[in-house]
Amino acid sequence: MDTAGPLWTLKLDGGLVPPRDLIGGKAWSLAQMCAIGLRVPAAFVITTQACAAYLRNNELPAQLRAQIDAAIGWLEEQSNRRFGAGPRPLLVSVRSGASVSMPGMMDTVLNLGINDETEQMLAGECGDPEFARDTHQRFLEMYRKIVLKGDTGAPVPQALRDQLYAAIEAVFRSWNSPRARRYRAHHGISNDLGTAVTVQAMVFGNADERSGTGVLFTRNPATGSAEIYGEYLHRAQGEAIVSGTHTPEPLDGMRTRVGEAMDELLRAARQLEDLHQDVQDIEFTVERGRLYLLQSRSAKRSPQAAVRIAVQMVSEGRIDPDEALCRISPEQVRMLLRPRIAPAVVHSAKVLLRGEAASPGVGVGTVVGSADEAESRGNSGEAVVLSCSTTSPEDLHGLIAAQATITELGGSTSHAAVVARALGKPCVVGCGAGTLQTLLTQTVTVDGNTGTIYADVLPLEIQREAADADLAQLIAWAAERSAIRVETAAPAGVDVIDFDHLARMGEPGGLARALELIPPGSSVRGALFAQDDIAAEAAVRAGVTLIVTSPRLPALLVCMRTQRSGSAQHDTTL
């Protein structure tokens, strides 16, 4: 700290990682990267204590402004750029960061520091006047929307310092936005915590031929195999990945262009996976051959990858079986075990139509042309597939009764897609205008995973949990730890209360009432305990000692989760 007094600004200089509640979650993860020697774009934090000072007076204290100015000076040194001056202008991002995330906080402002003069300098630096102009325009739009809250009467301040102060104040004010207050009130988060602000130098992946931007997964997020996976965009800024204006190349392409940065990236990837002991999704930018890490977080992964990686990481000694079980959700297991069309059959099957895969799963049935028909025939026990030009809320009863839904028009955001996903039913959309009429009365197999409609009933392959080595391992670990037994068949001589029967009666609220009736120590049977987490949890809370259901793993995971939350509650009451 260069100023005595309150802890209002902190440089992320690779020293000790400051407490999370002082600098917020985002800056904390940047500080962690710095602490293991990784290079992130230079950044400083305005602390939650400064937030409290601001909120007391509704203005930035003079001393805080002085600290911010000094910290900007430090960013200039670190980045070898100047704020509002040339030859290389410093642009910064301003982002909010509380120790816990919540809705209603201010969005990130990027590229603060650009004005008419620095736009020219940036144009010269990147050799791309259009990029500089575009950056300037987008900054102004973003500033008006986020800092001025769309108030068209309010001018954007001329001086860059004033823009910076105003953006910081806007972050602090957003702590008290109605949505943020409402969220904190409901979740019991103190209003006194406050938010921090991270101010970070922008780096430019489009600066020259030795620049670019990309994303790296430390393992393959689709299959779970232990290989690096990612994309690199040569000479592009980060937003280009999202906007789809550039076509990324596989990460290997980076090696030929910026080999040293690539080696450094691979080392960083290993370090970050070691630090978090989980698969990381890393965003990075290379500016003039120098690697900068922008963000690292636990990677989103397919159910298959989640299971493979959890088991692998135990065998690598990174995590213990308890942690592995925590990382798998019952829903992921169910997704993994969903029936699929037998691969051997797919090649010879007759494809009737292809559309956009909108909701996963496979559905088989006779094609009907209206929601009413789907409902009447579906409810009398027939398997039907609903086909429509498009769907609307009027068709909900048809979507519920059908095994699958197919539409002629619309994409993955259309009504049919949204509702099918909400119902967990297969759906293929956008097959083309006028294409579905010919399918009426035919029996089809709809594959919502690939967006294909096949003729006839195709044989489905049931996925058995015990046949998968990784799932079998997870089941074994869970069974050792669960206080409640979960089996696919009842042991001989045990009385088991049948809940499938109850489910078939379809009595509302029947489950809860039935569970109240049974004495603790009972054994129960029912498919719903594998399919519905709330049902399984209710059974655990009712004190059952044996659940007979299949597959076993989802119910076992619910048992463990309920056990954990139960013991946590117990601890707090002691």
Binding site: G104, H187, N220, A222, S302, E331, G411, S412, V418, R421
Partner: protein
Amino acid sequence: MSRRYEILHALAIKKQATAADCARLAGVTAAETAEVLRVAAATGRAIERDGSYLLTPLARIALESDYSRQFDQVRGDHGFVDAYERFERINIELKTLITDWQTIDAGGTRMSNDHSDTDYDLGILDRLGDLHERATEVLDELKKRLPRFDYYQIHLEQALQKAEQGALEWVSGARIESYHTLWFELHEDLLRILGRRRSER
């Protein structure tokens, strides 16, 4: 416009609904709505099934053919039409948002969101809250002409709050008056009022 017409219009939007549900949407008392629907059923304009009503096909056509006359004034109201067009622009965002809510991207493959990542969900709820603030401004405009739109404003707000409080099904649950269900009804309502067609792009 007659209250009877409002009630039948509400039934057309909901397709199959109880008198109480139609009453809330139409902004008419439950007693009057029940009576209108009872008469509609007695005169062959509606069918009653287990306490729920639905319009007969002929009554539906009669209702729809009268829209241009019934909503003549609204259709000529620039403030209302401008607000509707703003709604359409927000609607594009909402559709993307709901898809992002239901699915996640794992290295280029989209898959069902199992809602195990609280930060991811919070990010989307944050976007929804932001979108809702803009939708509220649009609804304020629409309400100047049609006060019953208050129904949407109140219930959208409630759905959002329930979701923020952790009851995640209130974002896009299909069987409840979730944010998406209400939003879609509101859209349907507007399309009927203005005589527009839905574009599924």
